[in-house]
Symmetry: C2
Subunit: 249 residues, 2 copies
């Protein structure tokens, strides 16, 4: 994969795919993680693998709200770590919030693989970001099993949580705790996308890169931000892409 030409039109997508395959080999991912990534790829294909203006607006609002929150936290799972941990560490540093590893299929092996990898990247970046997840001391209400576990210094007491690539059940449980829940999901119709306070419909590493380019102090919270219109704007771009391709065929 490393011999993908610099000019390949789908280079970023192929590199992301390789990151997932590598993370799988390191034991960082659940069995179905690659399938979930593939689903995302299909929706990204419909987006032309570009950040739309609708996604950019959503990303800006999320950055403003995370920056203004009292106890913000970024929650990451295996795919998120594989695809964008470097950018997310930089974002956590910028916002001044911890990162909590919180995975659906929690095993000690996967947690260790993820925590070690994040610590390695953090140390390489030379930044101070608190990494939570190894000693969960709280539970998300109304979820059963290991996926309910979380940290009181992170998710449990957060008022705003950026949790890219979240599943619908957990997104709903977090909303029911009264938190602002910000997700990144390439499927604008998913239950997660619909449940979230705001969904950034974009590929995770692109979405976070966009936030890294913005100035935290310059972005202002818009209390009237319309999350549904925001998703619909991206869906419109997907529909246009499908129709355009149909005409060309």
């Amino acid at each position: 994969m490393s011999d993908i030409p610099e000019t390949h039109p789908r280079r970023a997508s192929l590199l992301s795919r390789q990151k997932l395959v590598d993370a799988q080999a390191k034991g960082m991912l659940a069995n179905s993680a690659l399938i979930a990534h593939g689903r995302g790829e299909a929706f990204d294909y419909l987006l032309g693998e570009k950040t739309t203006s609708g996604a950019r607006n959503a990303a800006q609002e999320v950055l403003a709200r995370m920056s203004n929150a009292k106890n913000p936290v970024i929650s990451v799972n295996g795919n998120t770590v594989a695809l964008a941990i470097e950018q997310l560490l930089l974002l956590a540093d910028k916002i001044g919030c911890p990162i909590e590893v919180n995975i659906y299929y929690r095993t000690p092996e996967r947690m260790n693989a993820l925590l070690n990898h994040i610590e390695e990247v953090r140390s390489h970046l030379g930044i101070d970001v608190l990494i939570l997840g190894s000693n969960p001391d709280g539970e998300i209400p109304n979820l059963d099993g290991p996926r309910a576990k979380c940290c009181s210094a992170g998710i449990l007491n957060a008022d705003a949580i950026l949790v890219p690539l979240e599943d619908g059940d957990r997104c709903e449980a977090l909303i029911n705790m009264g938190k602002e829940v910000f997700v990144v999901d390439l499927n604008p119709l998913s239950r997660t996308a619909r449940m979230a306070t705001i969904c950034i419909v974009d590929e995770i590493s692109r979405a976070v890169s966009v936030m890294l380019e913005m100035d935290c102090s310059a972005v202002k919270v818009n209390p009237d931000f319309d999350a549904t219109s925001s998703r619909d704007a991206v869906l419109d771009e997907m529909l246009d892409a499908l129709k355009r391709n149909q005409t060309e065929a």
Copy 2:
């Protein structure tokens, strides 16, 4: 996964996913096979995980042409075997054609895992179908490396080939050999879907099940079958689904 309730609306999709994960564990799949499956899942989601009337028409035409061909063959790769080998063995028996294992990332281990699995299913079904692929003695022109290898008793001399889930390059190479190439692809916009003589835009096990319900002697070849309109009909259904969901959101 085996505890998915019988009534779960997405039961078939979740069972298919489990088949892929199991096949991965048996060494039948390439690294990126699960990602490819996930991409398919996303498009199937837009189809409502149902065979459309457009797909049914395409499947009927493919069955007619395969039944009327002089040397038809069904070519299978890892994902195809994982998802639908039982149905494809029954289809090969019905048409009276061999099945050739032909994979993009060819290694002796994967070939053996696939051939053994197919032989096991064939023997369990108690039918006679010639299984080719272990001793390739031919090459598909204009393809480089191991993915060019094929059998003279199968793909090399076939006039009609049903090759579900094919990649664009090889689809093109087979078309350039003057064959009728029939694919099954959930992405109606893919290069494979556009290159093929006919693309059935449907999930592979559903598409083959539809063909198994049809009577070979009753289906007639339509020389004027319009493959582009056929794909567009399914794309229209996807667009309608997206628009409907948008309105509901």
